[in-house]
Each structure stands twice: as structure tokens, then as C-alpha cells.
């Protein structure tokens, strides 16, 4: 990437309202690698693809279109750091482009509300912009504090990758891009069982059936811990919530502190490698303490 590009930063719900530390790391890191963020004023819930779309699809389509319209009016594409929001926007755009009558339907809902919307806007995940536009070589050049010796488990999540027909990745399975981005920081991406499995949070399952949801997270955490990793790296605010909160719940149920795996969002890991201070990346505000991990990294 030779010049910086500006995106409308779509926050969603979980990131600004539950994990502002992740939001902080994104705001600190992206401009440093040539991605400028402009706030999307007045945006709502994306709305969530597993819940609101499951309750009333036309409402989901209309509210998603309104968020896209805000970016269209601002003259930028949307950038998001949540796989769920990403899925909502990608599927909404596909639906509107493949079925023009759905766009007309949305425009009818908007009538008289002062929302101009043609559907001529795109939505990208920040990891997509980092991988394709910034690139691995540039990331390697910018690294000031290589995270050598750090062993991490990469968690891609689901809506970032699927449905593969409507995603920009070169592969449809066994993806490598996030592993490569992690390795560009000097850390090692460790293989573990069922790496591409869901975190268990989506589809309204966490909200309505917590035992099933947390058990899916437990299985992933067990697999990561069996591989002997120092942290889990994710790129989705909802997966992030799931791994942070589920460990607390599991420890409470077990009556022992078995689950203590630090959960880092990719921009927090990258920020450390760029030489930023942990406080700039919100790393002092984690549910599962990052203290030991940080003293290892910073002590080196």
C-alpha cells in the first residue's frame, strides 16, 4: 500500500459497548499502517446475522442497508472488526445486488426519512484490508519488537470465511492468511485440533443456550491449551467476548483456575510488535489477565 485510504469505521455493539480496549487498539494501530478511520456517525447494531436475521429478515436487511447508506453518504467503504457485522454487510450487499427488488423494498422503507441509498458501497473486514492492501512485507518492515518465542493459537471464526462464495479469500478452506499475518509479527502460529471450528457464540446460542455455547468454546480452548500456546489470537469482537467470558464461567463451574489463556485481538498483537505500549492497546483491561504474557514479551 503506497498511500493511506480512509474507511468509515463501523463499531457494531460488542466492541464499543463490551470491549472498548479492542476498539482502542484498532484506533491506535490502523492509522500507523496506512489505514485511516473516520467515525460512522449514528450507526446502529449491524444487525446481528444470527439473531435479528433469524427473527425478521426484512428488518435485518433494512437496518443493515441504513448502516451501509451512512457510509455511502460519507463517501467511504465500511471497515469492521467483527465477523458478525462483516457477515451481515456482505450478505446484505449480495442480496441487494442479486435481487434488485429487495433494494427497491428497502428504499420504500426509507421513504421520507432522508436516507439516500443506491447500494454502491462496499464493506471490508479490517483483516482483509491489512492482508490485501497493507500486505505481509509492509507489516514485516514495520515490526520494531519481533514477538519471537511467542506461541499462539489463531482463531479465524466463521463469518469471516463463509459462505466462501461471497468472501474474498483465495481458498475456501484451510486458510493461511491469519497465520501469515501472525507470523509476520515474529510469533509462531501453532496448529491445533479443530482450528476452524466455531467459537460457539453466534446464532443466538450464547444468549439462549449458554451451556451449549460455552461447551463449544471449552472444546476449542482445550484444544489450544493441549497444543501449548501462550495466547489465542482472534479477529472478531464476538469471538473475543466468547473466549474471554467463557473462561471465567468455566473456572467458576470448576471451582479452579484452569482456564487462563490470554485472548488478544489481532491489532493488539500487531501493536505490540510495532512497539506500542500495552496501555495504548488496552491490554491492561482484559478479563483474562495478560500480565504474565506481557512481562515475557516486554522482558525479552
Amino acid at each position: 500500500m503506497t498511500e493511506s485510504r480512509t474507511y468509515s469505521f463501523f463499531l457494531g455493539c460488542v466492541m464499543p459497548n463490551r470491549f472498548p480496549n479492542v476498539e482502542k487498539s484498532i484506533r491506535e494501530v490502523l492509522p500507523r499502517i496506512g489505514i485511516e478511520l473516520e467515525d460512522l456517525q449514528g450507526a446502529s447494531c449491524c444487525p446481528a446475522p444470527g439473531v435479528i436475521r433469524s427473527f425478521d429478515e426484512p428488518t435485518w436487511l433494512a437496518l443493515a442497508s441504513r448502516n451501509l447508506a451512512l457510509a455511502e453518504q460519507a463517501g467511504h467503504d465500511i471497515i469492521t472488526g467483527c465477523n458478525g457485522c462483516y457477515g451481515t454487510f456482505k450478505e446484505t450487499l449480495a442480496e441487494l445486488h442479486e435481487h434488485p427488488e429487495r433494494l427497491a423494498e428497502v428504499q420504500r422503507v426509507f421513504k421520507g426519512l432522508g436516507i439516500k441509498f443506491t447500494g454502491n458501497v462496499d464493506a471490508r473486514h479490517l483483516i482483509e484490508v491489512i492482508y490485501f492492501d497493507v500486505g505481509l512485507d509492509r507489516i514485516r518492515e514495520l515490526v520494531k519488537r519481533p514477538l519471537r518465542g511467542l506461541r499462539v493459537a489463531v482463531h479465524y471464526g466463521c463469518h469471516l470465511l463463509k459462505p466462501s462464495k461471497n468472501r474474498p479469500w483465495r481458498r475456501t478452506q484451510r486458510h493461511r492468511f491469519l497465520d501469515e499475518l501472525v507470523e509476520a509479527t515474529g510469533a509462531e502460529s501453532v496448529q491445533y485440533r479443530d482450528k476452524f471450528m466455531c467459537c460457539g457464540a453466534g446464532g443466538g446460542v450464547r444468549g439462549s443456550n449458554a451451556p451449549v455455547s460455552v461447551d463449544i468454546a471449552r472444546e476449542k480452548l482445550d484444544n489450544m491449551m493441549a497444543a501449548g500456546v501462550d495466547a489465542v489470537i482472534n479477529v472478531c469482537s464476538f469471538c473475543h467476548l466468547q473466549f474471554e467470558f467463557s473462561q471465567l464461567q468455566l473456572n467458576k463451574e470448576l471451582g479452579e483456575n484452569r482456564y487462563n489463556l490470554p485472548v488478544l485481538y489481532y491489532t493488539q498483537l500487531l501493536g505490540l510488535a510495532l512497539g506500542l505500549e500495552p496501555e495504548q492497546l488496552g491490554l491492561h483491561k482484559h478479563v483474562i489477565s495478560t500480565e504474565d504474557l506481557l512481562s515475557r514479551i516486554l522482558g525479552q
Partner: protein, 183 residues
């Protein structure tokens, strides 16, 4: 042991709604009739791995037209929408889409889990299914972020617009007027 210990599950004609599958196809699950019941969907399902939820069973029941049984089943809400079944289906059936379509039909008939109604009410009230709370407001301030995010949380005008959209699509009526009991 008497015969009464053996319960035969018999499907009565009145349980079958032959139009059910047509509705699913029209709503976007266009290849659902090509299902060969291979079970790939169930075998890759992370929820099915630890519960009795079987995606294949839901699809089979849908194809049989057992509308009421499918729409009232709590299993319908165990799908985490991970989309793995949709990716792997050898018939390229949009399995996840089919589940979402059936969930929409269930909600329309009043079958909605209480936690989901609660999340919907938050969306209606604040524009967010997960709204800001005091602890995170404080954390935002400590981190040097705008204390109230620049979303519907900080714009009454934006929130009113979002609420008007939900009024026009019928979402507010759907959440507020459907029966509280549901499942």
C-alpha cells in the same frame, strides 16, 4: 412387558403441510428438495457434537412437511450459524439459510425464546442488541475514547430513524404483540 411400552411414532395426515417446503424454497432455500439425507450437515455441526440436535433431521422433517413440529422445536435455536454445513453440503443446499427461514416462520407464529425477545427489545430501545453499560462507559473514558460511542447511543435523531424503520418493517409489533409464552 406389555405392548404399551412400545410407542410407535405415527405421522398423521393432519401433521403434514405439503406447502411448507414450497415456502422454504420461495424464501431462498432453493435446493432443499435435492437433499439425499447423507448426514454431512449433522457430522460437521459443533452444536450437534454435544446435543441431540441433528440438522439432517430438521431438513428431513421440513421435507416431509412437518411444519408445526419443526417450528416449535427448540433444536431450531441450537444452530450457531457457523455455516460449515452450508459449505460442505454435497448438494449445495443453503442449510443455514433454510434454518434462518424456518426461524423467521417460528417467530412469526409466536415461538421466540425469552432471551431473544429481550435482545430484540434492547435493539428497539437503544439501536443496539448489546447496549453500553456503566462499567464500559467508564472503561471508554479511562482509555481516552469518546465516552459514549458515536453510534445511535450519542444521537437521538439517529435512534429515532432506526426505530421508525423497525416500526415500518413491523419489527416492533412483532416483538411486542406476539405471545409472551412462546416456547
Amino acid at each position: 412387558m406389555t405392548d404399551s411400552t412400545i410407542v410407535r411414532d405415527i405421522i398423521d395426515d393432519e401433521d403434514i403441510d405439503p406447502k411448507f417446503v414450497d415456502t422454504l424454497v420461495e424464501a431462498g432455500a432453493d435446493r432443499i428438495r435435492t437433499c439425499i439425507q447423507c448426514g454431512t450437515c449433522s457430522s460437521v455441526c459443533p452444536s450437534g457434537r454435544r446435543t441431540a440436535f441433528r440438522t439432517r433431521e430438521i431438513i428431513r422433517k421440513a421435507l416431509l412437511g412437518l411444519k408445526e413440529e419443526v417450528l416449535t422445536s427448540p433444536d431450531l435455536w441450537l444452530c450457531a450459524t457457523c455455516l460449515t454445513c452450508l459449505e460442505r453440503c454435497p448438494r449445495q443446499i443453503k442449510v443455514t439459510d433454510a434454518i434462518i427461514i424456518m426461524r423467521n416462520m417460528a417467530v412469526e407464529e409466536g415461538f421466540m425464546l425469552p432471551q431473544h425477545r429481550k435482545a430484540s427489545r434492547k435493539l428497539i430501545k437503544t439501536g443496539h442488541a448489546v447496549p453500553l453499560d456503566d462499567a464500559n462507559r467508564e472503561m471508554r473514558r479511562e482509555l481516552g475514547l469518546q465516552e459514549i460511542p458515536p453510534t445511535t447511543h450519542s444521537s437521538g435523531e439517529a435512534l429515532e430513524q432506526v426505530q421508525e424503520i423497525m416500526r415500518r418493517t413491523g419489527f416492533i409489533d412483532l416483538i411486542e404483540s406476539t405471545e409472551e409464552s412462546g416456547q
